[in-house]
């Protein structure tokens, strides 16, 4: 596994898409925060309110889409470059190959979430002062990390689609956008339906004060994560090249 991850890391050298996705994920919150600092949007929101407002732009929309992009790209590229054949004839099981990819993707996703957390903390510190930030740091961090992780696990079905689509890329991108759309629309879903659909459960369960059935939401998120993972591995294992 070590070698596999090292190889995956080597593949990412001089990789423009990963670099642009990463920079986009960093520039976006920085821009928003910079505008806030210049306009002085302070009085309207409390610190948590400000974090939620920022999340609705970055974590609801941008991050899942970028993450979906990266995952699609990691998998689909092996098919378009025909490298999949060289990979599969290596003495590594197919499951490990796919898991290796997913680990790289998860690492990226988590790193980006942590970067985002750092940026938000920095912004909050400038806007609200360090004292306020200290007071609500735990709340901010747990919110952002929880949101990021839940997004990560509900995106595993994208891996499945990416395996099935081989050289195409639009099915998985479409799926990413649909999942993101559902996540956003879920805020207006009735309580039960919102908790049933995994992608809408993520914001419902993370943002405090939402109408949600916690047990149902957690279950649906778990099922979604495992289903996506299992199907991706299963399809990859039984795929004809």
């Amino acid at each position: 596994m070590n070698n596999l991850l090292a190889a995956e890391r080597l593949k990412l050298r001089h990789n423009r898409l990963i670099i642009s996705c990463s920079s986009l994920a960093i520039i976006l919150p920085v821009m928003v925060i910079a505008t806030d600092i210049f306009q002085g949007a302070l009085p309207k929101y409390s610190i948590m309110g400000w974090v939620f407002r920022l999340a609705s732009l970055c974590q609801y929309f941008a991050y899942p889409v970028l993450s979906g992009f990266v995952l699609t790209f990691l998998i689909q590229r092996e098919y378009t470059d025909h490298t999949i054949i060289n990979m599969l004839t290596a003495p590594v099981t197919r499951t490990r190959l796919l898991i290796g990819k997913l680990i790289i993707w998860a690492t990226w996703h988590i790193t980006m979430t942590l970067c985002y957390l750092a940026i938000v903390c920095l912004g909050a510190g400038i806007l609200y002062g360090s004292a306020t930030l200290y007071g609500s740091f735990y709340e901010i961090a747990s919110f952002i990390i929880k949101f990021g992780l839940l997004h990560l696990v509900t995106l595993t079905p994208i891996a499945w689609v990416a395996v099935l689509q081989r050289k195409n890329f639009y099915p998985s991108l479409l799926c990413t956008i649909i999942f993101t759309g559902i996540g956003f629309a879920g805020l207006y879903f009735p309580k039960f339906l919102g908790s049933l659909v995994p992608w809408s459960s993520v914001p419902l369960i993370t943002v405090p004060g939402m109408q949600v059935v916690p047990v149902l939401a957690t279950t649906s998120i778990c099922i979604c994560a495992f289903f996506g993972l299992f199907m991706a591995v299963y399809s990859f294992k039984h795929q004809d090249q």
Binding site: N3, L4, A6, A7, L10, K11, R13, H14, N15, R16, R77, D81, H82, T83, I84, I85, N86, M87, L88, T89, A90, P91, V92, T93, H238, D240, Q241
Partner: protein, 307 residues
């Protein structure tokens, strides 16, 4: 030690109701070059993919090095080097970086394996040129370098000369020959070009519409391809004298079991027969052997032939 490095038993591949490969049983013997000949779409690539476990087998079995491929992949893959379809590499990375990636995943046999593999195929080590700006010939070479990275016992090469210019083809061909002759590798190679296989292979299997029409040694087939008059006589010496004195030719050889080959095919058979009989050389066989390989393939593929 099992003599067959690759052995497939009634290998079949079906996609829905269409059968792409039908009951193919090939036998690739240790240390030999096996040429899989067939037109585009005859099922060569699919067969190779099944042998490599890239494609699921509908029915039949693949045995590599005397072991079933299924469940033994991890043990068997290190012993095989392959190029299937176009050589696949990461376009934004250099050849060296690409090989380093695969060396990392597959393990290596020596410290500077990547460097040596590149040297063997004549590509620069640690240069700045990304794979995407490689010429087709260089791409194919890198594919070969990747295949021989771990000095494998078995090489499976799918149309390795496809798309190369004549010089490149000759180079690759010579290289494959040397791999077999000097390094004793077993090689399975596919091609849709008859001459390609004829020049390289020791054994040949002909695939046509997914069926293995013939499996034979090249030497056997070549016998059918030479142009000469074959005679069998009771007295070689008398026949030799007749050839020289009456038919004025020195272009013949005396073979074992009283047969002779006359390479001067301009000789009239009737005249030859008459002359031989007149001295009592006792002719029992007289025939022109001029079966051309190409004609032969036409015959067995039912008239369509191979490009």
């Amino acid at each position: 030690m099992n003599d067959c490095v690759i052995e497939t038993q009634m290998l079949t591949k079906r996609y829905g109701s269409t059968t792409v490969v039908n009951n193919v049983s090939i036998h690739v013997k240790r240390g030999r070059i096996y040429g899989l000949l067939g037109r585009n779409g005859a099922g060569k690539t699919t067969t190779m993919k099944m042998i490599l476990g890239l494609s699921a087998i509908s029915s039949g079995e693949v045995r590599l090095f005397g072991e079933s491929l299924k469940k033994n992949e991890r043990k068997l893959y290190p012993r095989i080097g392959s190029i299937i379809e176009t050589p696949g590499f990461y376009p934004h990375l250099t050849g060296t970086e690409n090989l380093q990636i695969f060396a990392r995943i597959r393990g290596t046999i020596k410290q500077n394996a990547v460097q040596e593999a590149l040297k063997t195929v004549g590509l620069p080590y640690d240069d700045k040129k990304p794979f995407s700006s490689y010429s087709l010939g260089m791409k194919q070479r890198l594919g070969i370098a990747n295949a021989i990275l771990n000095d494998p016992e078995l090489l499976i090469l799918d149309e390795p000369t496809n798309g190369l210019d004549p010089i490149g083809i000759a180079e690759v061909r010579a290289f494959i020959r040397s791999l077999s002759e000097e390094y004793g590798k077993t090689i399975l190679i596919s091609s849709h070009i008859l001459t390609e296989i004829a020049l390289l292979a020791d054994d040949i299997g002909i695939l046509h519409h997914g069926n293995l029409l013939e499996e034979n040694t090249m030497a056997d087939l070549e016998k059918k391809n030479q142009k000469y008059i074959h005679i069998q006589v009771t007295s070689q010496s008398l026949a030799a004298q007749v050839l020289e004195r009456v038919l004025h030719t020195n272009n013949y050889t005396a073979e074992a079991d009283n047969s002779m080959r006359i390479y001067d095919t301009g000789i009239d058979l009737v005249e030859l027969n008459k002359a031989l009989v007149s001295v009592g050389a006792g002719v029992s066989t007289i025939q022109i052997c001029s079966d051309n390989l190409e004609d032969y393939f036409k015959k067995i593929t039912g008239g369509v032939g191979i490009e």
